[in-house]
Amino acid sequence: MARREPSLTTERFTTSQLLEIDACTRCGECLNWCPVLEEIEEETFTPEGREGMTDKQKMDFSPKNKLTGMREMLNKGYGLRAKLFGPRQIPEDDVLKLKDEIYHCTTCGICSTVCEASINTVEIWESFRRNAVMHKRGPYGKQTGFVDLLASHNVFAADQEDRLCWVPEDIEIKDKADVAYFTGCTAAFRMQRVGVATTRVLQALDIPFTMLGPEEWCCVSVLIRTGQLELAEEFVNHNVNAMIDKGVKTVIYACAGCHRTSRIDWPKFYEGGDLPFEILAISEYMDRLLDDGTLSESDFDWKNPLKKRVTFHDSCHTGRHCGVYDAPRRIYDMVPGAEFVEMARTRELQRCCGAGGGIKAGVSDLALKMAQKRVQDAELVNADIITCTCPFCRRNIMDGINAMDTNIIFKDQQEILAEAMGLDLTLPDNPYIDKQM
């Protein structure tokens, strides 16, 4: 008789991840930091179908209990008893319950940062999500639409031929260059002001660059974060090969989501293994040019002092995931008139804005509550402007601002730079003007 399959299989988990699941000491430190758990405990957000939870039940949304749930389920399938008598079946409802808990996570990674056992929780959640998708348990809510949207090679189902429709006529995009600017879907179709600011700044600083245009496909962050990897390899290989065709040595990003995905995830899917070019956040790239003397502060040619109190939200992706903290701060420090102030939680202990991990699409009311919490952090330090290097954080934080009674405004780092340098941020007429966020 065929042996039953475990209710939760080890598919998509690496050997190290299975070890890490057993490495959790259940110390509970992650409970002090998880931003999703915070909203659930404060009852500003209640997961669908979980109304009336006790305090103990709320803890099921903590990283600690998610790991415990996985360990218990895996042991029922692969433990000693399972080896002797066959896997113990787990009611499907219990597996789905755990799945929902694991999808209620922005993959911000703070649980990993504070984990005493150094467990890379984000990658474990993503492996679980992939496993859930393989077994038709995932993804969650509207996240199911991502794969269909990407038939157009971008997450907005826009025409790929319009990828560069926002670029001002006087911006020179080289056919081939050492440096490529990877725009990302959001800046190309919904936050074109970020794209315009970035290209204006690059041109003003005499940095020759190329762009992929219609050959720039989605970085597939949305698919990887939600466990839907069907298209990942094709998209990654396409983008990497397109960069190779352009002779690129360094790819720079003004989008933290694309940056993280390219730097950490692309090498896992690229057929050639390690990428044949360097991946840098644009602030990192500028920081390097300032260090090696290619750029000096005088090159920025400041024209408009900011005269505002500015606070910086480290995106999870470029910050905690890639460890870039000082470079963006160096840029703000240069901006004349900017009074830079730090929020209580910054750098590796920053509070997630709630946009990532598929939460914005899958559990949008949770994303909104988390964004409001981050705006409150900025209010506490009397900031006029909250800034970031991530269009997706920008979108969510702006939603938070709009839902609150606050005078704080949001500006992307490149917008602040461009405005201070007196650069024109007018968008050329294009089919997406009315869809700007």
Binding site: F13, L18, E20, K64, S118
Partner: protein, 270 residues
């Protein structure tokens, strides 16, 4: 009275009686269970893949070890393996950075457990040598010949005890910790509690009525005569072997192995 202590070290036997033999057999069983269990766990981990997106390895212990070692010695880590071993495993700075109380709790349990384990093994070896006729002492051999070990054994016993008491107190007095505690956690904490308590009691009984007794050992003896020393010691040894050795792979004790490996695989660091 004193003759009950005259020719043994671990407190288990006089004149090669049953208790030492039982402990020896239990020891072998415990070690076999522990190593067998660890291999079983490695096989379980070996069901995972060798890398992101790759196929599972069908329970390959070799595959598991290969990936683990490649991660531990990954040149991309910001600090060396030795630094990680010292700072993040032996000193446990990741815990210290987050909570001083939890660090005191864990570092005392960690070092108390390790040192008692080492001393117990040392005493066991001396006893084996004695029984083989290689080593012999006429007087109370442990106290007379290894006073430092006896003292350190007691000190680390109390170090472990302090850690276990903090762990219990946290669960009694901190609501979040209490509500988050499961049988998985309690098995480890109460296991350690029973081990350390029975250790003190068996030592107290052993010294009761002898020139080596102190007010503290008399307190721990619970007024029991030292004629009961061998069975008391046997009880302590058996449950120590069960909890601290045989059950390691199958309970929360697995973190003794898995957590340091996880820290090493990720290169440690603050």
């Amino acid at each position: 009275m004193v003759e009950h202590m005259a020719e043994y070290y671990s407190g288990l036997s006089v004149d090669n009686t049953l208790t030492f033999g039982v402990a020896l057999v239990m020891g072998f069983i415990a070690v076999i269970a522990c190593f067998g269990g660890i291999l079983f766990q490695m096989k379980k981990w070996g069901y995972g893949s060798a890398g992101y997106g790759k196929e599972g390895q069908k329970g390959s212990i070799g595959g598991f070890l290969k990936l683990l070692l490649s991660q531990i010695f990954d040149k991309k880590h910001e600090q060396g393996v030795l630094t990680t071993l010292v700072m993040d495993i032996l000193i446990q700075r990741r815990i210290l950075k987050r909570s001083v109380l939890r660090w005191v709790m864990h570092i005392t349990i960690f070092w108390g457990w390790i040192m008692l384990f080492v001393f117990s093994m040392g005493i066991f070896v001396v006893e084996l040598l004695s029984k083989a006729g290689i080593y012999h002492a006429e007087v109370h051999p442990l106290v007379e010949n290894f006073p430092l070990i006896v003292t350190l054994n007691s000190v680390f016993g109390y170090v472990l005890f302090i850690g276990v008491l903090i762990a219990i107190a946290r669960r009694l007095f901190i609501k979040e910790v209490r509500e988050g505690t499961t049988f998985y956690d309690l098995f480890l904490i109460w296991g350690l509690f029973v081990i350390v308590i029975t250790g003190f009691i068996s030592e107290g009984i052993r010294y009761a009525g002898t020139e080596y007794a102190t007010a503290l050992t008399d307190l721990w003896s619970l007024g029991i005569s030292n004629t009961a020393a061998p069975p008391a010691a046997l009880f302590h040894v058996v449950i120590s072997l069960l909890f601290c050795v045989a059950m390691i792979p199958f309970t929360k004790y697995i973190h003794i192995i898995a957590t340091p490996l996880s820290i090493l695989a990720h290169g440690g660091g603050e």
